[in-house]
Structures are given as C-alpha cells and as structure tokens.
C-alpha cells in the first residue's frame, strides 16, 4: 500500500474525532498493521490525542501494532470447534509453524492467530488461511493446506 492511500483515508476523516475507529479500521484493512508514524498522523488530522489513538489501537483485537506475515493463519477456538477438536488442530498448526497465538515468523510467511467465533460452527473445526475457510479440518490435513501458501 502506498502512503497515498493512507493519506486518502486520513483526509476523508480530517477534523472528525468521532470517526477514529472508522479511520483505523480502514487503514488496518488496507495496510494490515498500524505503524506508529501513521497513528501520529491520524491523531493530528482527526484532532484527538495520540494517547487516545493508542488506547483504541491497542485495545481492539482487530488492530495490529506489528507487521503481519504474508499469510494469516487462523484457528477458530469457538465452542463448537472446541468440542469438535480445535485444540488438537491448534497444537498441530503451532508445531508446523513454530508460532504461538499472535506471533509472526522471521520470514514473514505466516502470522498465526486464534479467535472465536467465526459462525461456521457446522463445519468446525476450522482452519482459515487468508480468509479462505478449510472446514472439517483434522491435524493430519494441516501440513497439506499450509504447503499451498508460500
């Protein structure tokens, strides 16, 4: 993402303190993380204290304060997925990627996250990579799926 499009988002909400979350969500969606310098620019443009920007950005799980890997790997830990075997699935993903919940590897290939509930309980447990759902996953099938993402 170029700085131009971040600027575009910031300009859209200039002078609107109430739109802080909207602005941050849009930047997060496009840039996939919130660099500190960008948050300073958001604070200045929307006329809110930097501390408030940090408060929102660090509070909500949807925001990332560190760069993410090229691929986001997600295991749903909702109740049905849990009952249907998500803990074993999670263990297998952790073993294969060497990552714990929230971590990104040194090559920036994967960021691993858990979360609940994604609402596709009927096909749980689920592995989700870059938004693509892999339903009814078993630990045995994880390696095959991850191989597709370089």
């Amino acid at each position: 993402m170029t700085d131009n499009s971040i600027d575009g988002i910031i300009e859209k909400y200039r002078g609107q303190p109430g739109s802080l979350i909207h602005a941050l969500v849009e930047i997060q969606h496009q840039n996939r993380w919130l660099p500190r310098a960008v948050m300073h620019r958001v604070a200045d443009a929307l006329e809110v204290p930097f501390a408030q920007v940090m408060q929102i950005a660090s509070f909500y799980k949807a925001f990332s304060l560190t760069p993410k890997g090229r691929h986001e790997v997600h295991v749903c830990t909702g109740m049905t997925c849990h009952l249907r075997g998500a803990p074993k699935l999670q263990a297998r993903v952790e073993e294969l990627t060497g990552l714990k919940d929230g971590e990104t590897d040194a090559d920036s290939r994967f960021t691993f996250e858990t979360g609940a509930c994604l609402g596709s309980c009927s096909i749980g447990p689920e592995l989700i990579v870059d938004g693509k759902h892999y339903g009814r996953m078993t630990p045995e099938k994880v390696a095959d799926v991850l191989k597709r993402y370089e």
Binding site: P17, G18, S19, L20, I21, H22, L24, V25, Q55, I56, F59, Y60, K61, A62, F63, T77, G78, M79, T80, H82, L83, R84, G115, A116, C117, L118, G119, S120, C121, S122, I123, G124, E126, G131, H133, Y134, G135
Partner: protein
C-alpha cells in the same frame, strides 16, 4: 431507479416486479451462508452460472445466490423451485445433472436427503426431517432472496409493513402493536421490546437513536449473522418501523468487521433502500426522515454489551457503564438510544403486517413468536433452526438435530455461550422458553444451543469458557478483571490433576463476588456456566479434589 415517492408508487413497482417474473420458471438457489461458503459453495454457484451461459438457458432457468438456508451440516445447499427440491452437499461436478433434471421437471435422486437410519429419501423441503419440525417465519424467505437485490425482497412482500405503518398507523399505534405482541428481546435479556421503545420515545431529549445490535459475540451463535447477511432488508425494515414509532431519525447497524459478505450485503442494502426512497428524507412521501449508518465492532466480545457498544459508536473504547443510567434514556452521546438485537428487529415487520394477535398465537405463555437457534456441538444435524417458543428441547436436539454424533449418548445441553449454562440430558423435555430456561440455569441467551456427548469433561468446559471470557473482559472492573483469572487458575489446576481441598469453596466464593461486583453482564454472568455445573455436575468436580470435597 427513480426514488419512490409514495406508498402507491411502491405497490405499483412491486406489481411490476411480480408481473415480470414467471413463477413457473425454475429457480436454482445456491446457499452462500457462512458454512456453505466455507465448503466452497461459490464454486458451485459459478458452475451453475457458467453452464447457464454456455447453454444459453437464461430465459428458461434462473440461478440465484442466497443467504443461509439453515441446514449447514449438509452444505453446500441447493434448493430448486417450484417444489422446494433440496439437494445437499452439492459439488460443481453435480451441476450439469441438476440443470438437466430441472429442465425436464425431474429430480436428481442421488443428491436428495436420505435418512441415515432408515434409508428413506426426502425430496421436498417440507419432507426433510431437519426442516419439517420448524416454523420458518424469519428464515423461510432466505432461499427466495438474493441479498444483493432489493427487488427480491419486494417480491416476497418486503416493505409492505413499513407502508402500513407509515400510511395507516400513528406512531403510538405502532408502539402499541409491538407492546401487545409481547415481543421480547432476542439478544439474551428477553426484555420486552415495546417497553424499551416506550422509554426511549418518552425520554425528553432529542435527537433519539435506534440501533441494530448485530455484534453476535456469543460463541457458537451464528443465526444473527445468517439473518442479516441473508435478508438485510427485513432487519432494516424493522428498524425503520421502530424508528418511526420511537421518533428517531438516525439509526446505526452495529455488526462484525470480520465477515466480508455481511459487510457487502448490508452496505448494499443501505444504498439500495436510499435509492428507492425507503431511507432518507420524506420516506415514501410520509414526512418521516430516517438515515442509517453502518458501524463495526473491532473484535472484542464486550462491545456487544449495549452501553459498551454505544461508546464504540461514539469512537471510544467499549467500556460498559453502570446500569442505573439506562441507555434507552441516555445512550449514544447521552441521547435516548434504543438498541435491539438483529432477530428482534426482524420480527417487527410481520407483527405490523399480521398483527399482535397473530403473533401471540405462536409460542408459549410468556414467550411469543419463534426463536432462531444455532444448533451445534456434538449434534448430527448442525445448522440454524427456527421453532415456536415453547418447543421441547427434545424436538430441537433429536427430531431436528438428529441426536448425538457418532452414535454416542447425550450428556448435557448447553445454552447461551460463555455466559450461559449446561443442563443434564434428563431435562431434555424442558420447553424452549425465556423464563423456564433461566430457572433451570441455562438461559437461552442469544440462542446458541450445543449438545455435549458422553465424553465431555464438564470441568474442562467451564475452564474453556472462563478462558474465553478472561481474554474478552475489558478490564474496567476489578472483580471481573481479577476474579475471572483466579477462577480460571483453579479450574486449570483441576483439569491438570492438581486440584486441592478448598478449591470448590473458593470457586463458589469467587463466582459470587465476581457476579456481585461487576458492572456489566460479562462479569455478572461470567460464573453462570460454573454455577450450572455445580448444580448438576458437582460429583465430577468433587472427583478432581483429592479425598473429595470433604477433605480439608
């Protein structure tokens, strides 16, 4: 599309839509609900469209991508009308055969429902066991609607309740009808929506706001997303009617940020409604103005709590407020704000169209209408179910759900996610009812119903649920922030074989203090699952303490 200026113009337009459609022309509805989408129903829909294009069948056959049909377990789902022929687990390779059969008025026998025990087949929706015990007043239209097309909603009678409210009823009459219907909040509280509306209506300050709570953070609850993604206009129509009754001119739809399809459908619905003159200034020439804005949660459970949600709309962190200030009087920017859940709003149009008397004829004595239930866990047929209130849980679990997976026996039924409760299998004949289920210790909550099989470790379930809540607490109140991790610590020890005497007493103590000392429902009800476990499954907990609970 020119803006519709009056109710008469809307009805004329509706008549035009209907006359341009041939009810005899077959329509193939491909479900794009969350579960079917996860099983790549998009590839199935694409294959249908490609075949249609290739064989130039556009005028003989329609293919429609729709919201959730309900039977998520057997996705991707395809329903062919007329006749509501249900095909399950459809793959792109099946497409040619379905098209050929449909054109000949035949059925692809190998893709219809087959009873796993008897082998009996069911072709039409009303014959499939999963559907035949339901009453699908809210979800039934989903297979008939492409959520991206407002015309599809108009074709099934959409926005006629709004027309009725704006042209034939006063604001007070609309409010009275909803009060008489005894519509109770579907989000978890079961509080009468009409009374809530009245409080906001009578609150002196202006402006007033109305809000759709589509946050749906309850784990294993997925019906609100299905409703809002599959039929956004139904929810919007309910909201506009409510705004009219209350005297609000601004509304918010608050929903999840992590479902791209949901966002796309709701955004599009708001744009289309505005284009048609159903949102904005002087709606259908009635003099009533109403705007609606879309807002997103940003990934934290507590933002579904009403006062926290309103802080979030203001652009602040979602911290709940003490409940002695009611949001219906002082909510968003300290103005009267009426918040209802997706399903509650979706009930409003039919109450206005068919009347409170009709609505109260459905359901149990104190819980009226139908309820959407997300049925999952160790159940054979997982999916979204709609049944009249008062339906016995046995019907849900066995007749519709098909019982427990893998031939196991039922141990417990859990309602209401992380703040709900578990009841033992022998209470299976209890009716689905707000008050009755609360008394049993498993309040319906938003409507996530899980079956748990004989292998379920109830101590582990309580640990898992608390682990979830500890991560979701906003941290404002000490009892919630500190009390839950202590309970979690004890339960974790117990699941690791490190339980010690005094643990159960300490858990009971912590559960009580956390409940009493927290501001919002998250902390207040955080120990509810644990309390239900102590009520029904205590021996399992005692077995984790060396020497039993008597040891000191």
């Amino acid at each position: 599309m020119p803006k519709l200026q009056s109710a008469a113009e809307l009805e004329k337009f509706r008549a035009e839509i209907l006359s341009s459609r041939d009810p005899a022309r077959p329509c193939i509805a491909v479900c794009a609900g969350a579960a079917c989408d996860g099983m790549d129903s998009a590839a199935v829909a694409a294959a249908f469209l490609a075949a249609l294009d290739q064989q130039q069948l556009g005028d003989r056959l329609e293919v429609r991508t729709t919201g959730c049909h309900g039977y998520c377990e057997k996705g991707p789902n395809v329903v062919v009308t007329p006749g509501e022929i249900c095909y399950f687990e459809v793959q792109p390779a099946d497409v040619a055969e379905i098209i050929a059969a449909t054109l000949k008025g035949e059925v692809v026998d190998r893709l219809v429902y087959q009873d796993p025990n008897t082998g009996a087949k069911a072709v039409h929706m009303h014959e499939v066991p999963f559907y035949k015990h339901q009453m699908r007043l809210l979800m039934g239209d989903n297979p008939k609607i492409d959520p991206m097309r407002i015309d599809d909603y108009l074709a099934v009678g959409g926005y006629s309740a709004l027309v009725k409210a704006l042209t034939q009823m006063s604001q007070d009459q609309v409010l009275d009808e909803v009060k008489k219907a005894n519509l109770r909040g579907r989000g978890g509280g079961g509080f009468p929506a009409g009374s809530k509306w009245e409080t906001t209506k009578k609150a002196p300050s202006m402006p007033k706001y109305v809000i759709v709570n589509g946050h749906e953070g309850e784990s294993a609850a997925f019906m609100d997303r299905a409703m809002l993604t599959g039929n956004p206009h139904k929810v919007l129509e309910g909201l506009i009617i409510g705004a009219y009754a209350i005297g609000a001119q601004k509304g918010f739809m608050y929903t999840r940020h992590d479902m791209p399809l949901l966002e796309k459908h709701v955004r599009n619905a708001l744009v289309q409604a505005k284009e048609y003159g159903l949102l904005g200034e002087n709606i259908l020439g009635s003099g009533f103005d109403f705007e609606c804005e879309l807002h997103f949660d940003v990934g934290i459970f507590v933002s579904g709590e009403s006062s926290a949600l309103m802080r979030s709309i203001e652009g602040n962190p979602p911290e709940p407020r003490p409940k002695y200030i009611r949001t219906s009087v002082s909510g968003i920017w300290d103005k009267p704000s009426n918040l209802n859940n997706v399903e509650t709003w979706a009930n409003v149009p039919q109450i206005i169209s068919k009347g409170a008397e009709w609505f109260t004829s459905i359901g149990s004595e104190k819980s009226k209408g139908t309820k959407l239930i997300s049925l999952s866990g160790n159940v054979v047929n997982s999916g979204i179910v709609e049944v009249p209130m008062g339906t016995p849980l046995r019907t849900l679990a066995f007749d519709i759900g098909g019982g427990v997976r893998d031939g196991k026996t039922l141990k417990a039924i859990h309602f209401g996610g992380a703040m709900g409760g578990s009841i033992p299998a022998d209470l299976i004949d209890a009716p689905l009812d707000f008050d009755g289920m609360s008394k049993l210790g498993a309040p319906i909550g938003a409507g996530g119903l899980l079956l748990m099989d004989e292998d379920t470790d109830m101590v582990e379930v309580a640990r898992y649920l608390l682990d979830f809540l500890v991560n979701e607490s906003c941290g404002k109140c000490a009892p919630c922030r500190e009390g839950m991790p202590q309970m979690l610590h004890i339960l974790t020890n117990m699941t690791e074989g490190k339980g010690k005497s005094g643990d159960l007493e300490r858990l009971e103590d912590l559960a009580e203090v956390t409940g009493l000392g927290s501001l919002c429902a998250l902390g207040k009800t955080s120990a509810d699952p644990l309390k239900s476990m102590f009520r029904y499954f205590k021996p399992e907990y005692e077995a984790r303490i060396p020497g039993g609970s008597e040891a000191k």
